[in-house]
Structures are given as structure tokens and as C-alpha cells.
């Protein structure tokens, strides 16, 4: 789960990572009130889950009330690389002496947390890496012993940051790691990590991703919603606990297990079709989950045919078949379905479908055959 800048900063503040004063605003009036409370100059910042806000005009300095009003009006509702701006963050302006880059993330290769620091902040980490790969210092942390003072010193000295801020930057990295651990983050990124004219160290931006599997431990974070951050179908799927990603095509896809669904997308594409979505009904998909999934897939108006590709392990094909029958009873289905059931209880599943004799449901034996059939039916 990705957090907006200001949501990430609120987590930072909770764990002692220094951030500038600020207030969120959803209307021009709230933005002006925030500006008045914080005191000028302030920065008006678009809150969207995408980079490049500055270049897109989503970050503006305001030196008085009139400028806050003007910028808030311009930025609210703005489209930034496909994301509509529904919220602003009104923040005390900071003076910039140096811009560094800092991050903590899970390194999948080493299976360890990794802390990163660079003296070249304010640009994308990819851009830093391109300019000077040695400018990014990486250190693995043993999660059982935690972030030690020496990790902070090592990062700070090896990154070649200003000598007078070695200690506070090391301390900030320790707090950043604490945030990462305490909040079950997969990523915390600070870019830029700011050194002000008075040599204070401040996180000027915050990019935080929380592990969705751990949200049960963080009920407050789980409740944060990003208006406009998600597609309508994706939001509907999320509410029903389904993993759904919208794509550009017209063939609705449902499968069980991420690998099989990905493979199904590939096979449909190879057969000349264009998938409308990725939908993993998950291990042990129950009948209700299937009903939910059919609703989500069909709520996308582009869909002209649907492919069910099930290979049952923990999922039982009879439950999938029952779910499909129930869905057809509840929903007015207008597009053809191709269904391929294999694995646990597959015969029972196929029997259920045969007995129900649903309109427009075609049963296929193989994955390639099913893909070819659905491409044909989708037109």
C-alpha cells in the first residue's frame, strides 16, 4: 500500500524523523487556512501517488495568502501523469543548503533490509545511479540485531556528505529504519533529505510503501484512503479482497494463483487477444469470491468475453463452478465465458457446469484451447 507524501511524513514524525510543519487540505479554503496557521512562505504540494509533481506544476511556493489561494485553485483537480489531485499538503517553506537521498528497503536478493544514502539528492535514484553509481552507498542491516550507530556512520562517511551533519544524518537513518520496522514498510524513501541553511536535517519528501499483508497490525494506516488513487474496478476488487489489476484490452481474465494468471495473460496475448485485467481469485477461492470476481470483471464496460482458467490445488473446482452458477443467477451476464477447470475436484466442477447449462458458457479442456476460444469469442 503506497502512502501519500503527507501520510508518510506523519509516520516519520511519529518515529522522530524530522519533517517540516504542514497541514493537509482538500479545498482552497482549507489550503488558505493552513497557510495562515503555518505562516508564510509555504509550499503548496499536490498529493498524488506518482513522481514528477514538480515538473508538472504540482509544487508551488506561496509567499502570501493570495498566492496560496491561486496555487491551490490551480493544483486541485490537476491531472498529473494520469492521477487527479484531490489533496494538497501545505508546508512551511525550507531553505536548501544541500539535498541528499536516503532510503530503507527490503533487498529481495539478500533477503535483508538495505539502507541507502547518497549526497546527490533531489533527482531520481535512477538518475543518480546513471550519473555516478558510486554516489549511492548501500549497507545491509541484520534485522535481528537492528540498525546500529556504526551503520549510520558508515553510510554517512562513505557517502561523503558534509562533515558537520554526519552525526544528525546517521541519527535520521536510524529513525528511518525504526519507522521501516515499526510500520512494516517495504520502502521508505526520503528525496531530498534536506540540509537547511542553519544546518538542520529534514525529510523534505516521503515515499512510503506498507506491506499489505501486515496492515492488520496497523489499523490506522489501513484506514488511509487515497481518493482517486485507484481505478474504480481496482477499488471494488480491493474492497472484496481480490487482487485485480486493470489492463487495456477486452478479455476479462480470472485465474487462481498469480503465476497461472500471468501465464494466462501471456497465452491470451500470444493467441492474439488483449487481456482486460489480471484477477487472481487466490488460493482456496470460495463460491462467494467467484461471484465477487465476476462482478468486478464485468463492471469494466470494455470486456467482451471472459476466460476462467483454474487449476485446482487448494482451490476446488466444484466451488468455482458453484460460484459461477450463483453469479449467473445474480448477474445479467451478456458476454460469453470460456471456462477451463483442472485439478482438485475438476470432474465435479465440470459436472456442475454441465448440469447448470449456463447460457454462453463454453468449457475447454486445455489452457491453449481456452485461450484460442476466448480470443475468437471476444471478436
Amino acid at each position: 500500500m503506497d502512502l501519500l507524501e503527507y501520510q508518510g511524513k506523519q509516520l516519520f514524525a511519529k518515529h522522530g524523523v524530522p519533517v517540516p510543519d504542514g497541514k493537509p487540505a482538500r479545498t482552497v479554503e482549507e489550503a488558505v487556512a493552513a497557510g495562515e496557521e503555518i505562516g508564510y512562505p509555504v509550499v503548496v504540494k499536490a498529493q498524488v501517488l506518482i513522481g514528477g509533481r514538480g515538473k508538472a506544476g504540482g509544487i508551488k511556493l506561496a509567499k502570501d495568502r493570495a498566492e496560496v489561494e491561486q496555487h491551490a485553485e490551480a493544483i486541485l483537480g490537476m491531472d498529473i501523469r494520469g492521477f487527479t489531485v484531490f489533496e494538497l499538503w501545505i508546508e512551511q517553506a525550507s531553505d536548501i543548503a544541500e539535498e541528499y537521498y536516503a532510503a530503507i528497503l527490503l533487498d529481495r536478493s539478500a533477503k535483508l533490509p538495505m539502507a541507502m544514502l547518497s549526497r546527490m539528492g533531489g533527482m531520481d535514484v535512477e538518475a543518480i545511479a546513471e550519473k555516478d553509481p558510486n554516489a549511492i552507498v548501500r549497507v545491509h542491516i541484520d534485522p535481528l540485531i537492528g540498525f546500529q550507530d556504526f551503520h549510520g556512520r558508515r553510510l554517512a562517511f562513505e557517502a561523503g556528505i558534509a562533515e558537520d551533519v554526519i552525526r544528525p544524518v546517521g541519527a535520521l537513518l536510524a529513525k528511518l529504519y525504526e519507522t521501516w520496522i515499526a510500520e512494516d514498510a517495504s520502502l521508505v524513501e526520503v528525496n531530498p533529505l534536506l540540509i537547511t541553511g542553519s544546518r538542520e536535517v529534514v525529510a523534505l519528501d516521503a515515499k512510503v510503501t506498507i506491506d499489505g499483508n501486515a496492515l492488520y497490525r496497523h489499523p490506522e494506516t489501513a484506514e488511509l484512503r487515497q481518493p482517486g488513487g485507484e481505478d474504480e474496478q481496482e477499488q471494488m476488487a480491493a474492497e472484496r479482497g481480490l487482487t485485480y489489476v486493470k489492463l487495456d484490452g477486452n478479455i476479462g481474465i480470472l485465474g487462481n494463483g498469480a503465476g497461472l494468471v500471468m501465464s494466462t495473460l501471456d497465452v491470451v496475448a500470444q493467441a492474439g487477444g488483449e487481456p482486460a485485467n489480471f484477477l487472481d481469485a487466490g488460493g482456496g477461492s470460495k463460491a462467494e469470491a467467484i461471484v465477487d470476481a465476476v462482478e468486478v470483471i464485468l463492471s469494466n464496460p470494455k470486456v467482451t468475453a471472459v476466460l476462467f482458467n483454474i487449476f485446482g490445488g487448494i482451490t476446488r473446482c466444484d466451488e468455482v463452478a458453484n460460484g459461477l452458477v450463483t453469479a449467473f443467477g445474480q448477474i445479467d451476464v451478456k458476454v460469453p465465458f470460456v471456462v477451463r477447470l483442472d485439478g482438485t475436484n475438476d470432474e465435479q466442477g465440470r459436472t456442475i457446469l454441465a448440469e447448470a447449462a449456463l447460457d454462453g458458457v463454453h468449457v475447454e479442456k486445455t489452457m491453449l484451447g481456452a485461450a484460442a476460444k476466448v480470443v475468437e469469442l471476444a471478436g
Partner: protein, 290 residues
């Protein structure tokens, strides 16, 4: 022969008394696996059909000599159950549970790496050595004994490919689902190194997917250390970059980690890569028939 599970496997199941635990536990028992115990705190002394249930893994090991553990408990209790099994001296823990927090697994992984317990999974379908033992949720009736070692990050994709090979008349030494989470206990390399020394295995099939750099590192390992033929499949060519596809294992980040990059890395090291499950099966069969 086979790897990891076989006739000597003595299985204890954490979560045996739950609905899914009972269903799959009994499936494993009926397949012929020695399922010697279940663990459910507070239900010690009960039985699930013929299988005795204990309050702790320690009791189960002491009473039954269990050497392998299968974890079937909900995600928030899974890390604890894995650690308990390891503490009780279990040599191989197979974790089926999906949705375990990554930080839990990170701590468990680092802890186990320093001890004597091997972990397979989590979020995996388990391990099947056809004709010998089935530990997990792999639908065993599709598979028969044979000489193809199969290792996969994806559960259902494993069945798909294993099944296609079976339909052409070939069997498997062992089928290992390693799981698709960011942190899993055993890697492709761990499993392939075991297939390499397993006399029954003559061909290795690996099923990867987008995300991470496991497949790339495995390509290097195969080139350096593996003498047996390896056929690979990678899922996710159609996945748009930056979108999460199901479990966190499938995040494409930057230029690396794409299906194309992985397929290329494998082919560069001489590993044949099939474009569909059917093509993988055809390549495997062709190689086996020489």
C-alpha cells in the same frame, strides 16, 4: 530417490484441526505420506481420524519422531509456528500459508539460516515426490514417478506444467513449489542443487516469474554448477511495468526483473526457455527422448 520428502518423511501438521488443514492433511495421509502428528494448542490428546494432535511441536516431536513440519495456520500465526517447529528440532519446514507479513519472514529467514532447519515456502503448494510422499496441496493424482525434477515459484503454474509433461507420459522425481513471496526459505538454486545430486532426476524444469533477480542468479549458477539439462518457463511477459500482479513476488522494478530480461539471462547461459506451458512441456519431452 527424490529430494526433500520421501518414504522416511514423518510429517507433523501445524493447523491440522482447521478445515483446510484437515482436508489436505488427510489427502497427504491417504496418498501414503507418514502423517504422524498434528499441532493445535489446547487440542492435545484429540485425534483427526488416526492422527494424534499435540499442544506443542515439542510434544509432537518427542512422541512421534516427526522430522518434517507442514504449516497450515493463518498468516498472523505462521511465523510463530515455523519458529516453534525449528525450535523443536524439525529439519524441514514446509509453509503453505499465504499472506505472511514480509518482515516476519525476513526475521524467520535470517534466524533459520543460522540453524539446521530448512524452510520451503511460505505461500507455496508444498512438495510432492510421486509414489513416495505428498506434503502440501499439490493435486497428486496428475503426477506419477519419473525423472523430471520440477521447481516453481507459482503453485498453480506448477500443476499446469507438471500436468502437461505427465500427459506426454513422463513422471516426476520431485515437484517443489518454492513460493512467490519476496522472502522464501529455499531458492531455485537451493532446490536445483539438490536435483543435481539426486540420481533419479535426469531433467530439471524451473518455472519463474517477473520480479526480483532469482532467475538471473539461477542462470549463473546453472552455467557454473549444473550438468543436467534445465528447461525454464517465465510467466509475466504481458505484465505492465510497475503494476503489482498478485503477490509481492511480481513487482517489476526498472529495467531488471522483467520476464524478457529473465528469459534472456537464462538463454544466454544455455538454458532453453519455453514461451507457453505447452512449449515447456514439449521441450522437456524432446530432451528426455534425446
Amino acid at each position: 530417490m527424490s529430494i526433500l520428502v520421501d518414504k522416511d518423511t514423518k510429517l507433523v501438521i501445524s493447523g491440522l484441526t482447521g478445515r483446510e488443514g484437515t482436508f489436505h492433511g488427510l489427502n497427504n495421509l491417504n496418498y501414503g505420506t507418514q502423517v504422524v502428528a498434528g499441532v493445535t494448542p489446547g487440542k492435545g490428546g484429540q485425534k483427526v481420524e488416526s492422527i494424534p494432535v499435540f499442544n506443542t511441536a515439542h510434544d509432537a516431536v518427542a512422541e512421534t519422531g516427526a522430522n518434517t513440519s507442514m504449516i497450515f495456520v493463518p498468516p498472523r500465526f505462521a511465523a510463530d509456528a515455523i519458529l516453534e517447529a525449528a525450535d523443536a528440532g524439525i529439519a524441514l519446514v514446509i509453509c503453505i500459508t499465504e499472506g505472511i507479513p514480509a518482515h516476519d519472514m525476513m526475521r524467520v529467514y535470517v534466524h533459520l539460516k543460522r540453524g539446521d532447519t530448512r524452510l520451503v515456502g511460505p505461500n507455496c503448494p508444498g512438495i510432492l515426490s510421486p509414489g513416495k510422499a505428498n506434503v502440501g496441496i499439490i493435486p497428486a493424482h496428475f503426477f506419477s514417478e519419473g525423472n523430471v525434477g520440477l521447481v516453481s515459484r507459482s503453485g498453480t503454474l506448477t500443476y499446469q506444467i507438471g500436468n502437461e509433461i505427465a500427459q506426454q507420459g513422463f513422471g516426476n522425481s520431485t515437484i517443489v513449489g518454492i513460493g512467490g513471496d519476496p522472502i522464501v526459505g529455499s531458492s531455485f538454486i537451493d532446490v536445483i542443487s539438490k536435483f543435481e545430486t539426486d540420481p533419479e532426476t535426469e531433467l530439471i524444469v524451473m518455472c519463474g516469474e517477473i520480479g526480483g533477480d532469482e532467475e538471473e542468479r539461477t542462470a549463473d549458477y546453472i552455467a557454473e554448477r549444473v550438468t543436467k539439462p534445465v528447461i525454464a518457463y517465465i510467466a509475466g511477459f504481458t505484465a505492465p511495468p510497475g503494476k503489482t500482479m498478485g503477490h509481492a513476488g511480481a513487482i517489476v522494478s526498472g529495467t531488471s526483473g522483467t520476464a524478457a530480461a529473465k528469459a534472456e539471462a537464462l538463454e544466454a547461459k544455455g538454458v532453453k526457455v519455453g514461451k507457453t506451458p505447452t512449449e515447456v512441456s514439449d521441450l522437456a519431452v524432446k530432451t528426455l527422448r534425446g
